[in-house]
């Protein structure tokens, strides 16, 4: 039973039996959905703090039962199907959106391996070789659901919203993919556990080898991309309330709408967990969670600690996403496309070359940082030279005095 691969102690890639896998899947879905529904409450609470409001505090102590109330409300609402919709696709839409989001969670390494009662148990549903690609794929698949749902609704607002999400995805999938490529170059594997393991260890005994420190530009681009791919403000154009009513979910009600809503937040969680793995060393936490390659611990409580660290890091990224959401106005469509194609794509392309060169020269890790800074400068200078200047600051307020003769 103990088929543990010890080539990299951090991986401890034990294969789970079918029963264990099933248990893990059910457990993960329950945990994820709970996290996601509380995330909605958390988001509202953060928004209230930023906007100097009280926030939800009616349902239960501190409003803690608000998610329960929300879900009950969604379930008891009338599940109305308009007469003009394409019924099959209309049903398929929400399922198609939520399914890839949940499937994406399967490949995320969130807790390493624990040994319980003599059996090795991997806290990851599927450890596959191309996990990074797999997550890019599930991200794109989810957008098909939006397009299908929007198209099946047969409303102009929905179709426009669906088209917007399709083109938004095309725009932001490219830089996101290129950033993943540059990270994969450095880590030398598409397997997420290996990428996380690559970031184990400390410089000067305190600074972790996390890629955010050597690849800050890649991190920045990736954050912008996941904001766009999760349809979150400032990139929530597909469902821009003020223009398109609800965008692709205009015609959906009850739990079908709830699935769209849930999928959006599940995507946000998966994307931030992926960011944590790619840039923040996965579950690495100064060895405190039993996560150092030299002394990886397989006790169950270390496993739980590692899961907590993973979600904690993802939580920080979600906090960042929420802060951005409540401090910026929504981008306009041309601004969004401009940002993707004129800034992010060239930057991430150059980043791939920069990382490749550093790798080829066998240069020390600080060279990656140098490469990132160089690319950032190049893009900034290029944008300035090509006249992509913003309107800029306008400090003077014109106060014209009108003489009254």
């Amino acid at each position: 039973m103990n088929r543990i691969v010890f080539d990299n102690p951090l991986l401890l890639a034990a294969a789970n039996g079918p029963l264990a896998t099933l248990l893990l899947i059910v457990g993960l879905i329950i945990v994820m959905l709970t996290v996601v529904s509380y995330l909605i409450l958390f988001e509202r609470w953060i928004a209230a703090q930023i906007q100097d409001r009280v926030g939800p505090n009616r349902a239960g102590p501190f409003g803690l039962l608000q998610p329960v109330a929300d879900i009950v409300k969604l379930f008891i609402k009338e599940d109305f199907t308009p007469s003009h919709v394409d019924r099959k696709l209309y049903w398929l839409g929400p399922i198609w959106v939520i399914a890839p989001a949940i499937i994406g969670m399967a490949v995320l390494p969130i807790g390493g391996t624990v040994v319980v009662a003599g059996h090795a148990f991997r806290l990851q549903v599927a450890s596959i070789d191309v996990a990074a690609l797999f997550l890019l794929m599930t991200g794109s698949m989810g957008v098909y659901g939006l397009v299908v749902g929007g198209w099946a609704s047969d409303t102009k607002y929905s179709v426009l919203g669906a088209l917007r999400s399709a083109s938004q995805l095309i725009s932001y999938e490219v830089p996101a993919g290129l950033v993943v490529v540059s990270i994969v170059l450095v880590a030398g594997s598409l397997r997420l556990e290996t990428i996380a393991a690559h970031q184990a260890g400390l410089w000067w005994g305190w600074l972790p080898h996390w890629l955010i420190f050597t690849q800050p530009l890649a991190f920045l681009i990736f954050i912008v991309c996941i904001l766009a791919e999760c349809n979150r403000l400032p990139f929530d154009l597909p469902e821009a309330e003020q223009e398109l009513i609800g965008g692709f979910h205009t015609e959906y009600s009850s739990m079908k709408f709830g699935l769209f809503f849930l999928a959006e937040f599940t995507n946000a969680v998966v994307a931030s967990l992926l960011t944590a793995v790619l840039f923040l060393g996965g579950f690495g936490f100064w060895g405190l969670a039993g996560d150092q390659p030299a002394g990886v611990q397989t006790q169950w409580y270390f496993g739980l600690a590692r899961v907590a660290v993973s979600f904690g890091k993802a939580g920080l990224i979600i906090l960042l996403m929420m802060q951005i959401r409540w401090t910026l106005p929504r981008f306009r469509f041309d601004q969004l496309a401009k940002l993707a194609w004129q800034v992010l794509v060239p930057a991430s392309l150059l980043l791939v070359f920069a990382n490749g060169i550093v790798l080829w020269l066998h240069a020390p890790p600080w060279a990656y940082l140098l490469g990132n800074v160089a690319v950032a400068l190049l893009v900034a200078v290029g944008a300035w030279l090509l006249g992509g200047r913003v309107t800029g600051r306008q400090r003077t307020l014109v106060l014209a005095e009108r003489s009254h003769a």
Binding site: I50, T327, P329, R330, V390, G392, L397, L399, R402
Partner: protein
């Protein structure tokens, strides 16, 4: 059915019910991709028959009804109406009363512009700005409640003056409130002039150049943002405005960003004016006796509401009821410019462009019935109605047809 449409153009209805609109109104937008090729406005979803209802009420009843034309600029409509009736009746109101009217009017402007700033933020997906400005708006709403007893419909006006006096303690409170408001306004000016995402989002959106603003008859901040320095408070001072020292805020941008700058600038000017009013508040009575029946005659009253020039016309026939009341809310003058502003814009800009004229559609809706002089009712096209109007005036020796060529008001400075 989009899927069956063969043309490349898609028509999107914005309204009569739409999240971007706070009141029912219909904008039919023709799109090519995300670009607008054509747009049309259709009014008339919220006609309330207020003008007709006024004719069946006594002047004092009509005054309270007129105050309910608009929920935001209630004092503007009430004052414009009261001024017209006072002119017909030949009433001279005490100076203290005119100062109090001006004070309420400027507080109302602050409350309206803060409200607009929040709505504008909401329309571009910037809800935090909405929450901030509406929180600050509470300060001025509380001041209005303190002075008049109401947060929205103040009911301060009456024929011959105002219904309530303002005491020293209240004025002290107002000054304190204005200090807070001014500080917050300065913060919003920093936001509007420093926040690059906001500037990019609002610049070059909903362009209305100076000449177009004049041609389409835009009023208020919409016109002033195009450099048309047209402000009734300066051009034709009423109430206490002749005594006050203030600037007409204009901008050169001629877009939504310019309109934002004008409104935040006007917030500062209003704070300045409120301080002057309180400093120079004259003593004396606040009302003179007004007759129940108003003599025959007609008057035309102009008032610079927060949204622009508000026009009231009242004709009396010697009874206690007005014979005719005509209200032209500022949105009526601005709404025609919206179609021009939307041209060649993006769909994403529709909500903010509509919101940028600070529309108040319920106030705007009017019904015009055509009663031919030859007798009978019928339908006239716009051209016929215009021609009939020109001929009617010409027969009385007035010719406005070449007005725009001979007289151009509001040149930018």
């Amino acid at each position: 059915m989009v899927s069956k449409s063969r043309s490349e153009n898609v028509q999107i209805p914005i309204g009569p019910q739409h999240p971007a609109l706070k009141e029912p109104e219909s904008f039919l937008i023709t799109l090519q991709g995300e670009r607008i090729t054509k747009s049309g406005v259709r009014l008339g979803y919220n006609h309330r028959g207020i003008e007709k209802a006024c004719e069946q009420r006594t002047y004092i009843q009509a005054m309270y009804l007129i105050e309910r034309v608009c929920g935001i600029c209630s004092h503007s409509h009430s004052t414009a109406f009261v001024q017209a009736v006072e002119e017909v009746a030949g009433l001279q109101i005490p100076r203290r009363a005119s100062y109090i009217r001006t004070l309420i009017g400027e507080l109302e402007r602050v409350h309206s512009h803060l409200l607009w700033l929040g709505v504008a933020g909401h329309e571009i997906g910037f809800d935090t700005l909405l929450m901030y400005t509406w929180r600050d708006r509470e300060v001025v709403m509380d001041l209005l409640a303190l002075l008049t007893g109401n947060r929205v419909n103040y009911g301060i006006n009456t024929f011959g003056g105002v219904r309530r006096d303002v005491d020293a303690a209240q004025m002290e409170q107002v000054l304190k409130g204005v200090d807070i408001l001014e500080e917050r306004t300065k913060y919003y000016i920093t936001v509007a002039t420093d926040e690059v995402t906001l500037i990019n989002r609002l610049s070059n959106v909903g362009k209305l150049a100076h000449d177009d603003a004049v041609r389409l008859g835009a009023v208020g901040p919409t016109a002033r943002a195009a450099g048309v320095a047209r402000d009734i408070r300066k051009d034709d001072p009423y109430a206490a405005y002749a005594d006050l020292d203030f600037n007409v805020v204009t901008a050169t941008q001629a877009d939504v960003y310019g309109r934002t700058l004008v409104r935040v600038g006007e917030l500062l000017e209003s704070c300045k004016m409120i301080r002057q009013i309180i400093k120079n508040m004259p003593d004396g009575p606040v009302t003179v006796k007004a007759p129940r029946k108003v003599q025959a005659g007609e008057a035309f009253s102009r008032y610079e509401a927060p949204r622009g020039e508000d026009v009231h016309y009242v004709r009396g026939n010697g009874s206690d009821k007005p014979e005719r009341v005509k209200v032209r809310a500022p949105t009526m003058a601005n709404v025609q410019a919206v179609a021009h502003m939307l041209q060649d814009g993006y769909l994403a800009d529709v909500p903010i462009v509509i919101a940028a004229i600070d529309p108040c559609f319920s106030c705007t809706d009017r019904l015009i019935g055509v009663a031919r002089e030859s007798g009978g009712r019928g339908i006239m096209t716009w051209e016929q109605a215009r021609q009939a109007g020109i001929e009617w005036h010409r027969a009385r020796g007035i010719d406005f047809t070449r007005l725009n060529e001979t007289f151009r008001c509001g040149e930018p400075r």
